[in-house]
Amino acid sequence: MDDTPDNSQPAAEADVHHKIGLLTRQLHDSLNELGYADKLRGSMGELPDAQSRLSYIARLTGEAAEKVLNRVEQAKAQHDYIAAETRRVVNSLVADPVAAVAKGEIFNFLTDVERVTKEADTHLTEIMMAQDFHDLTGQVIARVVNLAATIEEQLVQLLIQTAPPNAPVPAEPARPAHLQGPVVDPENTPDVVTDQSQVDDLLASLGF
């Protein structure tokens, strides 16, 4: 294996960076000259929103993973406990069946099994509920993809406009979707509810 340091990599990265800088400058100048700056600025204004949406996805997926791991760890500990108790009670039964029953070992064991089974069911339900992140993040991802598509569409329009010498025909501005999907920043979003109790209060105030 060749251990010689590859010095061409940083140079190549710097070159790419320089080219991106030039493209950005050209785009900026062209937009100003063509009067497209305001149009694209509208989309760029949505980028901080896209960033908060991506943060929301990261947070939700992280919380879901944490929740699942916590529940699995608890369930495994309980499973280990029942497995150990089973071995112990079997040994007691083999050694002295009458004493095992008389001392309440069998009854206590069955009570433990019933309790742990119920708790295992709760863990499984919580693990299932944690998967709701798929729906919520899916909706948010769709909005971010939509934003990227809008920017792409506007850039394509810009290319079309700059190709012929004729006067430019501005593209239709993107219209915001009516349905907003999950609220990623409830503290800074007016007129939204943040939990089920607020939904219930609102409906109750309407007589429902």
Binding site: M128, D135, L136, L179, V192, Q196, L206
Partner: protein, 128 residues
């Protein structure tokens, strides 16, 4: 509690349909079918008997509001209770759902207890 009521669960995400289906089953409602959007839901509602609709709002082809409107203007379906289970948390959406005839509104993420409570409440109001 176990009843013979038949539920239709409408959501474009199969994960959420499975979650709702399992939660309903845990609450004693084991008879359920699924649809991925309002169009598929209407098709099933018009070709089979259901007692309860649990629907998302933000779906392709036909969203939950449109599905609700279609159900409420159909003489054969308008008696069906429609519970909206959605991530749409704007107050105007909640008001619109109520005014459109929705029987209940749950915001995602929700808990098993919330779903069970709302379904039970709606059934109680209907005398079921």
């Amino acid at each position: 509690m176990t009843t013979a009521l038949r539920f239709l669960i409408v959501d474009d995400f199969s994960t959420m349909r499975r979650i709702v289906r399992n939660l309903l089953k845990e609450s004693g409602f084991s008879d359920a079918d699924e649809a991925e959007d309002g169009v598929a839901a209407l098709n099933k509602l018009r070709n089979s008997k259901f007692d309860f609709v649990v629907t998302d709002i933000n779906m392709p082809n036909m969203n939950g509001f449109q599905l609700l409107a279609e159900i409420k203007k159909d003489d054969k379906l308008k008696h069906l209770p429609v519970l909206m289970v959605t991530a749409e948390a704007r107050k105007e959406d909640i008001v619109a759902a109520a005014q459109g005839g929705a029987a209940g509104y749950i915001v995602k993420p929700f808990t098993k207890a919330t779903l069970e409570e709302k379904v039970t409440l709606i059934l109680k109001k209907m005398g079921l």
